[in-house]
């Protein structure tokens, strides 16, 4: 069974190689190999994942792996540094496998239609396949070094795909920004891996987790913090969140796959995977929770006022990732993975929907130039409505269960402040999602008249994945998260987190429908309902089947955003709380000055010294070469004079 594991990443790798080599020659069929490679990988991954989730042999509850070969032999380095090329699957990996391969496959299919007219589509599919390979390597790796390799590879793919339309300057700049910001986090992760090696002398994850208790506590804290640093970069948490919204410059399928459903989840996965490390450092858990919940409310507040449809979704992704980290921080490990899965599906769906919308209105991304699209692109509209309801947290869709579980756990584990902020964010999420729906699909049309008459529903290769993604977005919660805290997912993941939870001292009290849990759920749902109704009041709604109809009130929105006190908040939100400006000032401008000074120092002092030595030597040589006349008598004269000097010296010494 474990012999199947290498197939999962190797299939997309083969697809990447073939598409990359042959794609240019067969541009019209470029997608075929790539799509089938991912479908095949999905089949294998599904088999493996189901076996692992059912705790079937050989995976059992602890997981099972396979060592392919010795990557770095122990005799290569003086300190015995070694690593093996090994893959490992346990229920946690299986959850990620399902999310990555399923959404990856649907995004590949969707891209057939979305990228149909792009001349570089072979390149696109090659990159997508490379990304699938990298992400699956990251997820399946059994040691930290291989995780890091996958970690960097997904970063590379993200860079390549954000900058896919590289002739557009903003895309090239966004790609560079994403890459650079990620480096900051990756640096921390790399240091964390080095710290693990120095403390434990192994990088194999299971071995590290088993022996982590023997590490001195300061080192436990340092390692956890450094690993979390990597997660902050990859999952775009405050203060490294600035790259993700700009990453929306890439093609929309990329935003759906990489920047919503898979790569940005890598940080969450890493922290969840390292739960024994974080469990041993409760101080860091608080940091994780604080950064997560702060990012959640920060991003949600920015999503309020953005007008680019993809940027709203990007900030929403940040916010939801913040939820996941908050969940990890309060010790609700399973709830975080639950939210990761449900968010992967509904945010992947929402992004693909937004791509379909953009496709239908001829590349327009500004929501102020949309409106009234509901009747013209019904499938996109219906699926996006499902996604919005799911993320807003309306029962019984997926988002409700996962979010409710996070909030409930935060409350019950004693993190009241996390709960309180998360509660507010839940309402904000519902509001900005229905603002997006209202501006895009409902109310009067603001579409450019020239574009207006050829608005069309997307081809079937695009709507198909939308429908297929809408199903898990709607039903995943009921399927694996119900009844809350004892659902299928909890049974699957229980062995992964059991020892950490036991050590943390949080009691896993039974979920109480008619007690605190029920009350919290009802409270959240009520807030969500209020937020949705508010959004409807401001931005309009039109669902004839439910008899809902309201015109948008842009005058009210304007009046409210201009009101004293609120206008500052509005401006802050609209300008993303000036983070880009701060970074620009701090790193681009001031950092640039430091760099210029360093450049000057290098040029004049360092290079000057080296060049000076060279010039002096060359000049001395030019002058001294005249001594060598090539005439034998000159040399003879030298010898004779030397002899006379020596003789005179000898005589002088002898006489004295």
């Amino acid at each position: 069974m474990t012999a199947l594991l290498p197939l999962i990443p190797i299939l997309p790798l083969g697809g990447f190689v073939l598409t990359g080599l042959l794609g240019r020659r067969y541009p019209d069929d470029a997608h075929r190999i790539a799509v089938w490679a991912v479908v095949a990988s999905w089949v294998v991954a599904s088999i493996v994942a189901v076996m692992a989730l059912l705790h079937a042999s050989p995976f059992g509850t602890g997981g099972a792996g396979i060592t392919l070969w010795t990557w770095i032999p122990a005799n290569g380095f003086a300190n015995g540094f070694n690593a093996s090329m090994g893959l490992f699957v346990d229920p946690l990996t299986a959850c990620l496998l399902i999310v990555v391969t399923t959404i990856g496959m649907l995004v590949h299919v969707y891209s057939i239609g979305y990228m149909a007219h792009d001349p570089g589509r072979w390149r696109f599919f090659a990159y997508l396949n490379l990304f699938m390979f990298s992400m699956l390597t990251l997820v399946l790796a059994d040691n930290f070094l291989l995780v890091f390799a996958g970690w960097e590879l997904v970063g590379l793919c993200s860079y390549l795909l954000i900058g896919f339309w590289y002739p557009r300057r903003s895309a090239a700049v966004a790609a560079k920004k994403a890459f650079l910001v990620n480096r900051v986090g990756d640096m921390g992760f790399a240091l964390g891996i080095m710290a693990i090696w120095t403390q434990l002398g192994t990088l194999n994850m299971q071995a590290v987790f088993a022996r982590f208790g023997s590490v001195p506590h300061e080192w436990q804290i340092a390692i956890a913090l450094l690993i979390f640093c990597g997660a902050v970069g990859k999952s775009a948490q405050f203060p490294l969140h600035v790259w993700l919204p700009d990453a929306m410059e890439g093609p929309t399928p990329v935003s759906a796959l990489i920047h919503a459903a898979t790569m940005v989840n890598a940080g969450v996965y890493l922290v969840a995977r390292c739960n024994p490390i974080f469990g041993a450092a409760p101080e860091v858990m608080v940091v994780v929770a604080a950064i997560g919940i702060f990012t959640a409310i920060l991003a949600a507040s920015i999503a309020f006022t953005q007008t680019d449809i993809k940027r709203v979704l990007a900030y929403s992704t940040l916010s939801q990732l913040g939820y996941m980290f908050a969940s990890l921080g309060v010790g609700a490990w399973t709830a975080a993975i639950f939210h990761l899965m449900s968010h992967g599906f509904f945010k992947g769906l929402l992004f693909l929907d937004s791509g379909s919308v953009i496709h239908s209105v001829d590349g327009e991304q500004d929501m102020r130039k949309m409106g009234g699209l509901a009747r013209k692109i019904p499938i996109t509209y219906a699926t996006m409505l499902v996604g919005s309801i799911a993320i807003a947290g309306v029962p019984p869709l997926a988002g409700f269960f996962s979010k409710d579980e996070i909030l409930g756990r935060a409350f019950k584990n004693g993190f009241l402040w996390v709960w309180a902020i998360g509660f507010v964010v839940a309402g904000m999420t519902a509001f900005y999602m229905f603002r997006l729906m209202g501006m895009t699909f409902w109310g009067p049309s603001h579409v450019d008249p020239e574009v207006e008459h050829h608005i069309h529903e997307s081809p079937r290769s695009m709507t198909g994945p939308l429908v297929l993604l809408a199903i898990p977005a709607a039903l995943l919660g009921l399927a694996i998260g119900f009844p809350p805290e004892t659902g299928l997912l909890h049974q699957w993941l229980a062995p992964v987190f059991a020892s950490t939870i036991a050590a943390s001292g949080h009691t896993e009290a039974a979920y109480n429908f008619f007690g605190i849990d029920g009350a919290l759920a009802i409270g959240t749902t009520a807030l969500v309902a209020v937020a949705i109704v508010l959004a409807w009041r401001f931005f309009g709604v039109e669902i004839p089947a439910l008899g809902l109809r309201a015109q948008p009130r842009p005058d009210q929105v304007r009046a409210l955003s201009a009101r004293q006190g609120l206008s500052l908040l509005y401006k802050g939100s609209f300008n993303k709380w000036w983070f880009d400006d701060i970074n620009n000032k701090l790193f681009v401008e001031w950092g640039g000055r430091v760099a210029a000074a360093a450049f000057w120092f290098d040029r004049t002092i360092v290079d000057g010294t080296v060049n000076g030595i060279g010039t002096v030597t060359a000049g001395a040589g030019m002058r001294l070469r005249r001594v060598q006349t090539g005439r034998v008598q000159n040399y003879a004269l030298g010898i004779a004079l030397g002899l006379i000097v020596m003789a005179a010296g000898y005589l002088y010494l002898a006489v004295r």
Binding site: Q628, T629, G630, R631, V632, Q633, A636, L637, A640
Partner: protein, 103 residues
């Protein structure tokens, strides 16, 4: 034969100086080789003079002088061969025109 060592040393010193001057001042390669012979023989004369006046050096001096004569013969052979070879190339015995190694 003079009974004074000094007169021999003065003579050989004169011979050596003449040889040195000839080597440095003459431009003809053959003359330079002859000057070298002069210097070698001046040295030989010194050695022999010391051998004749200092009893302990008697045998050693003769041996060293013989060796010097042998080396001088070999040196003259090689030197002359080189000079002839260069002469064939350059068509001149004047050493200051042998300057192809400068510049």
């Amino acid at each position: 034969m003079s009974s004074s060592l000094d007169s021999y040393l003065v003579l050989s010193g004169l011979l050596f100086s003449i040889g040195t001057f000839g080597f440095l001042a003459r431009r003809n390669a053959i003359s330079m080789l002859m000057s070298i012979e002069l210097m070698l023989n001046a040295v030989n004369l010194t050695i022999i003079a010391f051998g004749a006046f200092e009893q302990p050096l008697h045998v050693h001096a003769s041996v060293i002088a013989l060796i010097v004569i042998a080396v001088a013969a070999a040196e003259a052979t090689v030197g002359l061969a080189i000079v002839i070879a260069i002469y064939r190339n350059k068509k001149t015995p004047l050493v200051d025109e042998y300057d192809s190694m400068s510049e």
